[in-house]
Symmetry: C2
Subunit: 204 residues, 2 copies
Amino acid sequence: MVDKPAPDATRRSEKSRRAIYAAALALVAEVGYPKTTVEAIAARAGVGKQTIYRWWSSKADVLLEAFLDLAGQTAQAAGQEPYTIPDTGDLAADLKAVLRATVDELCDPRFEAPARALTAEGVVNEQVGREFVTKLLEPQLQLYVARLRSAQDTGDVRADVDPRIALELFVSPLAQRWLQRTAPISYAYTDTLVDYALYGLAPR
Amino acid sequence: MVDKPAPDATRRSEKSRRAIYAAALALVAEVGYPKTTVEAIAARAGVGKQTIYRWWSSKADVLLEAFLDLAGQTAQAAGQEPYTIPDTGDLAADLKAVLRATVDELCDPRFEAPARALTAEGVVNEQVGREFVTKLLEPQLQLYVARLRSAQDTGDVRADVDPRIALELFVSPLAQRWLQRTAPISYAYTDTLVDYALYGLAPR
């Protein structure tokens, strides 16, 4: 909601930006990263190629921003603040809630096809992979680092644990099941990952 | 070493099979899965296309078998039995040894390029992904299941733990770091994963 009507030019820019994001995500999902070109994105969005180059320097830039925007929208549609992890004082519950929301996102077809296309390209194309990690994945992982540090302050996680490694015990299994289709994903599965990671496999 | 000389035909077949494996792995690393064709593999291996179709039904078949063969050879070159996990009675030490060998394998350039190409294809191509998992990945993961079951028998892993999920706490983080280049991999890293997974992040 805006309380003042946007000037025509701003409204037109916003509309173009949305059309470009949608075109970029649709194209990469349909034809893969290598065949997605700035020309094709422009044609599909109904804008000139120069409009895209005015705002972004490459197709990788457009795609990464389109993707960030989509992730933010998906979170908002699910009633969550994008890019936060709750801190209710119950670490297991907080991690389970975030991972359940991630399961929903990974199973959302609007998200799945472009996410697979970008990730696959990152596996074989080091530059795209590193941009994807720096701009999209690592900032999300750092939210887990912050939540685990807070749990170290309250004594719920051992002080000698490295939070950047620890988060991988529950994040990476979900990522691998989804990416490589090694087994199905579900809330019960991610809940189990959190319990195993926090309490360990060895008897206590 | 063979104690009887192989008949000429067998020796020639074995030589062709090796040439085909090498050609398939080199091609997929160079041009990616979609552009790797049976024709190109045959040309590079110096055999007729029909020689390939006599032994394999598709390029996916050739590649998966070439890959299995390479993994077996890499393990043997490192002085390990391929496809076994030691059971010395010390679970942490056994898991750390296998993961250290996996780090070596993932950093071996002969392995890395074709493994990335096949994995990337599996991310966007469900059929290739499922074949890759069924024939290559899952049989390796089942070795961890067996080792964890044996640890449940000796009381080193809780009886209520699902070994198929548990193994992911140390296998998937390594896989994700390697595939998505989220952070470097090392022996110290995989050793830490095993300790965190076995003893948990929460204080004991």
